[in-house]
Amino acid sequence: MNVYLQQLTKKFANVTAVNKLTLHLEDKKLIGLLGPSGCGKSTTLFMLAGLLEPTEGKILFDEKDVTKVETEKRGIGLVFQNYALYPHMTVMENITFPLINLKVKKEEAKKRAMEMAELVQIGDLLKRRPKELSGGQQQRVAIARALVKQPGLLLLDEPLSNLDARLRIETREEIRRIQKEVGITTVFVTHDQEEALSISDKIAVLDKGVLLQYDTPQEVYKNPANEFVAKFLGTPAIVMTEGIVTEGRLVCQGVTLRENIGMENKRVRIGIRPEAFYRKDTGFEVPVQSVEMTGKDLSVYFHLGQERMRAIFFSDERITQGENLKLGIKTDQILLFDMDSGSSLGRV
Amino acid sequence: MNVYLQQLTKKFANVTAVNKLTLHLEDKKLIGLLGPSGCGKSTTLFMLAGLLEPTEGKILFDEKDVTKVETEKRGIGLVFQNYALYPHMTVMENITFPLINLKVKKEEAKKRAMEMAELVQIGDLLKRRPKELSGGQQQRVAIARALVKQPGLLLLDEPLSNLDARLRIETREEIRRIQKEVGITTVFVTHDQEEALSISDKIAVLDKGVLLQYDTPQEVYKNPANEFVAKFLGTPAIVMTEGIVTEGRLVCQGVTLRENIGMENKRVRIGIRPEAFYRKDTGFEVPVQSVEMTGKDLSVYFHLGQERMRAIFFSDERITQGENLKLGIKTDQILLFDMDSGSSLGRV
């Protein structure tokens, strides 16, 4: 199912939670809705679900305008940010509930619920009630409940936020697998850019209710439409600094980062991702201030002029504090942004 | 303050949530309590806070046995997994509440609350009530409230789980900075291994209420005590397979991974982290099955014999599907585990 959001706007008393959002959610694709807390992700999702009425704009499911169609008739699955499990029902009853609403036979419903439960690894909790589950377990039940009826459009509101890292990755891969298998258009809300990058076919980045960029994960990561997107994606975060283009040279803090770039003279914002640095004997030399190991990655902090920067290496790289490091920046991995608007000026 | 947990045990009706936990939380250190959902992290924290009474065992604050001391008298700060903000109070009132309990003067309390609020970036929300805040904003208020009184021991129960990725990293660094500045012993519960690895001085890994390993992040990552820890830490996850040691050679799926290892002949579990692979012309050759880009990382999937494996490179590495890749495994980065107990047999 193709879903079209057209100029979708939602105003609350004094906040415009979603602002003229136009988006095409392509059939069978998994679309990540990414943005910081309060940017309007849940609001968008709720409008898709029909739980909130848009202030303006339209929602089309394929060609059908569903803006005024009731939730029950939209045939969607939804996983809530705060579970919304029925507290008085057992896990099994929670999961079979939507099926029985759809008049699926009891046995069949149970069978499908069991399968679903196995999938999210709660097979042994079927008789418990939500209260008797840990947060993570509750979230998994919610996922099972949303998926069990194989809906036409699946909406997930930060479905993984209460799972532990391991299970989070597993579950997101499961969601991905199921999504591909069932082939339903899916909207996946998250504020975790890594999550969004890893499972989405396309990512929509929102800020303050406005769509900043809508593209494949690669594109969004490599060619962020503006500074905000650049900063929001990637971990460790991109380092932003300022520089100046003079006569084709990009100079930052006295160091020439690139030459021969086709751009008129002007001040620019420069973004360099930590992984863009590499050891290059002919590169600029900086003393290492501190080194931090986080699992597979090694963060190396140094100053470029006044600016504190971070480079990242695999953690088997032998770099120690105080050492002088010669660094280069990989081709096409310096991002340039307009000083005023913050919008992208391309990569060099 | 040094905190000692001695044989700490907590049994609920039919679950042993924490099982004979002995742990020394060193003075001024930030200790990460890491483990999957339901492993007993919150339970441990609640016992430290005095909110749950241990079934057995003791808790010492420095030399003082506080096992039976009341929460109010323990002088601790605690951030709850589910906020626990006072719903009828404004943000400001929430933050000043502990100070006023401690008889800090109103003005002083307000000043400190303001500082704290700025720190967690909610300076403009001080007049709102919890209901009027997004989940993330609520969590930040909770953090401010716990920190404001500069407690002797700070307990954080997944304090960042509802923050978006960007803010999560910023806030954890803030927590880290404050923790160092104030110099309080801090326990930080998380199920996010990356979070634990990045900010902890030491990490305690729990599973099913049992302490599996307690060490620095590097150690835990590099020398996991057993298979569970190895699997739980690191993202993307370590790949586990089986192999055999014959006459000093480690063979897996017909490929000799190492030679001359000082180990008697036996079957072993083998763990290889995705980043341990590197391009090595003299290495074994595998065809690339698929390639996945997630931000800075490039996941490359291939088969080693029957076993599906993943190697990880920086995303500027040019590897395409179908290509034949020659790989080696970095020294000392093959982890071996006992087939039965799963406990570590060292690295090769």
């Binding site: - | 009341e70 929460t71 709850f80 589910n82 626990a84 309990n101 409230r145």
Partner: protein, 275 residues
């Protein structure tokens, strides 16, 4: 679709309308009766509208007893009794819902058990008790026996128990004593429930009749509801005056109710807690 909705709406409004009619009827009856004359009031079939409006019934009713003094007493007794009741109720409900002490459940069960005894059995024994306490014909006698109410304690305890544990824990961690937690967290968060209980108490206190009559002898101590005895005798009742006096009695309650309705109805159970 539309038709179904219309039918549903017709059903809803008919049901509510009928219910509302039946509910309002006694009120209307009371007021319209209070404006009839003595012969019209016993007429069958009853007249729905008074033939002539006899507002003088109110004057007559008011003259039958020192209503001003009664009114003052009623207000005083009601206010003091309600404040005391709220205090004892809040304290006890808090202890039973949150504090753990040996025998808690037993004590609470015993309290609950007292709900099962018909109040009619208590009057004489309490009368003797009040006399022995030397409280006969004092305002204290009107107040003291009623300042603890198991039913309210039970009700409020249910509300208190809905507060998440985490709030209590947070307060503990914030070095907040039980007492302060009660004052600063529990009470504000349950203010709707508490005021509801207060209102229930005000109403029952205001309308209480038999007990105030029995433990007072002097006009100076008597309350408004006792004024009603002026119009009822064994041989018959002066309905028009009784209804006029009843209207006077009920009026302050209705006004209070109308003013506080939002308070009572909206989010009685501290709905903010879960947020």
């Amino acid at each position: 679709m539309k038709g179904k909705k219309l039918i549903a709406e017709i059903f809803i409004y008919t049901a509510l309308g009928l219910g509302a009619f039946l509910t309002l009827l006694p009120f209307y009856w009371m007021i319209s009766s209070s404006l009839k004359d003595a012969s019209e009031i016993v007429k069958m079939p009853p007249t729905f509208f008074p033939e002539v409006l006899h507002f003088d019934n109110y004057g007559k009713a008011l003259k039958a007893a020192p209503f001003a003094r009664y009114f003052f007493n009623s207000v005083m007794v009601t206010v003091i009794s309600t404040v005391c009741t709220l205090v004892t109720t809040v304290l006890a409900a808090f202890a039973f819902s949150r504090l753990r002490f040996p025998g808690r459940n037993l004590i609470f069960s015993i309290l609950l058990a007292t709900l099962m005894i018909p109040g009619e059995m208590l009057i004489i024994t309490n009368y003797v008790t009040i006399t022995k306490l030397g409280l006969m014909d004092t305002r204290a006698a009107l107040i003291v026996p009623w300042i603890a109410n198991v039913f309210y304690i039970y009700l409020l305890k249910q509300f208190f128990m809905q507060m998440p544990d985490a709030l209590y824990y947070a307060a503990k961690v914030d070095a907040c004593s039980d007492w302060r937690y009660l004052l600063k967290i529990v009470v504000p968060n349950n203010r709707h429930a508490i005021s509801t209980i207060g209102i229930l108490n005000i109403i029952s206190c205001w309308n209480a009749f038999l007990w105030p009559l029995i433990v007072t002898n002097s006009e100076e101590k008597r309350v408004l509801s006792i004024g009603l005895i002026q119009f009822q005798t064994e041989a018959g009742t002066n309905y028009e005056l009784l209804m006029a006096a009843s209207s006077i009695l009920v009026l302050p309650m209705i006004i209070m109710y109308l003013v506080l309705r939002k308070q009572i109805v909206n989010g009685v159970i501290g709905s903010g807690i879960k947020g």
